[in-house]
């Protein structure tokens, strides 16, 4: 058992710390974007405040707080800096993957002596894993690894080639980050500070206990070795993919909140560009625009956090009843969260349209929020209508025609 750094840390205190960090992160947005990764001070700030341990099991030095607490922290961080929020959410969210899917020996090994783990990754099977004594040597390259610069470990998909009568099989493995190299190919419209770069492994050794099967195999997700390591239903029965949508949605909602902060500042200082020429904050149109933005955003956040609470409840019920997480409710929560991302995007869209051209100049904060939100919306985890289709198929028991 590893004691967490601050055993008495409460949910309220963690959220307050995230709120306090908002102006600091905003002041570092340009630097973060310029660096193409989180600034070192930001990495330390997130570690020191315990944010990476929010979901981590108590046994391994974490605070094991509820999912909505994690989402609140991610919202606030994204509000200050969307790239920071994204990096945080996608990395810290993987505490669930490690603790719910990988075996006990692996967890003891990876969490190590102090529980200081940051494990981004890419689950696609983009490497070859050659069986060797005691494990595998993996060789390959994975793109889009957000937060790889400050990672301690990487979770990576690989394929074990066919041998004799045995066919090829897919595995998921945990490598030490320091054994892999980073290639900077992250040159994109927005979210430039996430440093979602390419990671290359060249014959990196991964011990057998640090590997499991394919995380795209639904049966494996239900019976993974990690499911028996912790009693907390969050790990024992909590849906795996559902979590990804909390990560993305938290960042979408936080990004829109950040844009709303800037919008309010601009409305408080600028005049309308059309008659009647009055301060924007006194003009009926801007009252409506601002109100509509808040409406979209508050509904998005409320529905999102409610889906997170439903998640905890579903996991609890499944654990109590000895069943699995309800698949239809699982999809319904994903459905709900993805619409929240879309509402947040709608709010940004409304603000950007009505704020004028000058906030679109390069270097302006509003332009950055807009680019970041747009980048987020291209992620395949932010496609509300696809989730709608999946839910409909599931509900009617219809398979998608191949």
């Amino acid at each position: 058992v590893i004691a967490p750094p601050e055993p008495g840390l409460t949910a309220e205190e963690v959220i307050r710390r995230a709120e306090d960090l908002v102006p600091v992160l905003r002041a570092r947005q340009a630097e973060c974007e310029e660096l193409g990764r989180l600034p070192d001070e930001t990495v330390s700030d997130l570690i020191e405040r315990g944010f990476y341990r929010v979901l981590q099991p108590r046994r391994f030095g974490g605070y094991e707080l509820e999912l909505p607490v994690f989402s609140r922290v991610a919202i606030e961080l994204a509000r200050g800096c969307p790239s920071t929020g994204w990096t945080y959410a996608l990395v810290a969210g993987h505490a669930h993957m490690l603790s719910a899917l990988f075996g006990e020996e692996c967890q003891v090994d990876v969490y190590g002596e102090d529980g200081d783990v940051r494990m981004p990754g890419n689950l696609r099977f983009l490497a070859e894993a050659v069986p060797v004594d005691g494990g595998f040597r993996i060789t390959g390259a994975w793109d889009y690894i957000s937060g790889c610069d400050s990672a301690t470990h990487l979770v990576l998909g690989a394929e074990v080639p066919a041998l004799g009568s045995e066919g090829a099989r897919e595995i998921t493995c945990i490598a030490d980050a320091k054994e892999c190299t980073i290639v900077d190919n992250w040159d994109v419209l927005g979210m430039r500070g996430t440093g979602s770069k390419r990671v290359v492994a060249d014959g990196v050794f991964v011990p057998a206990h640090r590997t499991v099967g394919s995380l795209f195999d639904p049966d494996f997700l239900l019976t993974a070795p990690g499911r028996r390591v912790h009693e907390n239903p969050f790990f024992a029965t909590g849906s795996f993919f559902n979590l990804l949508f909390s990560e993305i949605t938290a960042v979408a909602v936080g990004t829109a909140r950040g844009a709303l902060d800037v919008y309010e500042e601009i409305l408080s200082t600028r005049m309308t560009t059309l008659p009647p020429i009055v301060p924007m904050r006194e003009h009926p149109d801007y009252h409506r625009f601002y109100g509509e933005a808040v409406q979209l955003l508050e509904v998005a956040q409320a529905a999102f956090l409610s889906a997170d609470r439903d998640y905890m409840e579903c996991a609890r019920r499944a654990a109590e009843e000895g069943t699995h997480y309800d698949p239809e409710l699982d999809q319904r929560q994903i459905l709900q969260k993805q619409l929240c991302s879309k509402l947040a995007d709608d709010a940004v869209e409304l603000m950007v349209r009505t704020v004028g051209s000058s906030p679109m100049r390069t270097g302006e904060t509003m332009q950055r929020y807009r680019r970041d939100m747009t980048m987020l919306c291209t992620h395949n985890g932010a496609q509300a209508e696809l989730a709608a289709g999946r839910y409909g198929r599931l509900h009617f028991g219809v398979e998608l025609a191949q």
Partner: protein, 425 residues
């Protein structure tokens, strides 16, 4: 002044279909040059020569002065075709060519003859007034800087608005002027924006420039011109197009570029659909996937609707011009506001297709810097946040006030108030 002999255009037989076809034939070349156009902040000298040879800049120049005097639907078709290749290039070309319509409408014959010359005329213009002009013996002396002067790099002239010294306690009278290139310089200050980095929207500066009185119109607003008393241009050219109003025209230019940009994005989206696979099961080529098929169909439908509405807006604009001179029913401010809103709705549909279908579902790789979809998205986002789209909200309210008979005072002038505030007057 004696009426001079008309000057023939370089190709008297060039048809509307012919000139649009030339723009379409240039598309691949414009696509290829998009990155360098952004880098330079305007299109190359080589493209400029192609445009000169193709006659694009003469599309709205009066026939009498060596132009083709094509109608508004043709001009917007031309702009859409160019924007499909490169939105920045189309914006720069459009804003340099479009103002031949206002110069050909509002100025007297002597001024037009000098300004148009043999028809080689390109004239950037910005509606927001800037700076001050002081009267001289035979004209005005102007000192001013005009930001966002799209089309400036290859312009032979500049049209702008400035203020005369105030008479008494009243607000300073507004002036509309046209000035040859020799009287202004272009600043190197464009390209540092989200999109349309290659639109050549640099600032134009006048320093104690002398303008003859015939190049300056007092109390005339470029974007909201009262033409109820007829225009010098109609009397000179006999074409009702030179007797039209301008609110719809200016919005339509922006919308034409955005509709063309969306068509370009759709071209690229189709390429991506054919080349790439879906991101989640069933993993198939995207063009065989029912979701991608639906997104493609929706995007095609929205963009086609936008284009149809915009071209119909141009047709209606021509009809209102013709009606005003044939029957004396004036081209009213309400008519102009209505068409302004139609043009903006067309832009909104094009943007919806870009935002709702194309960019969102093309995948993150299409948002990498330098990708065609990424660039067109930035260009369209810039257009979506353009002053012209905000004017749409104002225009909607003004339209209601006109229609409901609530215009008890002089119509408000968007750019005037804005500038007065900025100048603290």
């Amino acid at each position: 002044v004696r009426a001079q002999q008309p000057i023939a255009p370089p190709e008297p037989g060039l048809t509307p279909q012919g000139i649009v076809a030339r723009a379409e034939a240039l598309r691949a070349k414009l696509v290829e040059r998009q990155a360098e156009t952004e880098e330079r902040t305007y299109y190359s000298e080589e493209i400029h020569r192609e445009f000169l040879a193709a006659g694009f800049y003469r599309a709205l120049v009066p026939r009498r002065f060596g132009g083709y005097e094509f109608d508004l639907p043709t001009f917007w078709r031309l702009v859409i075709a160019l924007a499909r290749g490169c939105p920045s290039t189309a914006w720069c070309m459009c804003l340099a060519s479009g103002h031949a319509l206002q110069v050909g409408s509002l100025f007297e014959e002597e001024a037009q003859a000098e300004l148009f010359g043999d028809g080689d005329f390109r004239c950037a213009a910005v509606a927001a007034p800037s700076g001050k002009a002081t009267p001289t013996e035979d004209g005005w002396e102007l000192t001013s800087t005009h930001p966002y002067s799209s089309g400036a790099p290859y312009s032979t002239h500049y049209m702008g608005q400035t203020f005369a010294p105030p008479a008494g306690d009243g607000p300073p009278p507004i002036l509309l002027f046209v000035a040859p290139r020799s009287s202004w310089t272009m600043l190197d200050d464009w390209g540092d924006t989200l999109g349309l980095k290659g639109s050549g929207s640099h600032s134009v500066r006048f320093e104690q420039a002398h303008l003859p009185a015939r190049y300056v119109l007092e109390n005339t607003w470029m974007v909201d011109t009262d033409v109820s008393g007829g225009t010098p241009g109609y009397r000179l050219h006999g074409n009702p197009m030179y007797a039209g109003r301008t609110l719809a025209f200016f919005q339509g230019e922006l919308s034409a570029v955005m509709v063309g940009a969306a068509k370009g994005a759709l071209d690229e989206y189709e390429q991506i659909m054919r080349a790439r696979k879906t991101q989640r099961p069933p993993i198939v080529s995207r063009h065989e996937d029912p979701d991608y098929q639906r997104w493609f169909g929706l995007a095609v439908g929205r963009i086609a609707t936008a284009e149809a509405a915009l071209l119909q807006c141009a047709e209606q604009w021509m009809e209102l011009c013709a009606r005003s001179v044939e029957t004396g029913v004036p081209f009213s401010r309400e008519d102009d506001l209505r068409l302004n809103i139609v043009a903006r709705e067309a832009l909104t549909l094009a943007w919806d297709a870009m935002q709702g279908q194309i960019l969102r579902t093309a995948g993150s790789s299409a948002a990498r810097n330098g990708q065609r979809i990424e660039r067109i998205f930035r260009d369209m986002a810039m257009g979506w946040g353009h002053f012209g789209t905000i004017v749409g909200d104002w225009a909607a309210r003004e339209l209601a006030r006109e229609h409901l008979g609530l215009m008890t005072e002089a119509p408000s002038r968007p750019d005037r108030h804005r500038t007065e505030i900025e100048q603290g007057t």
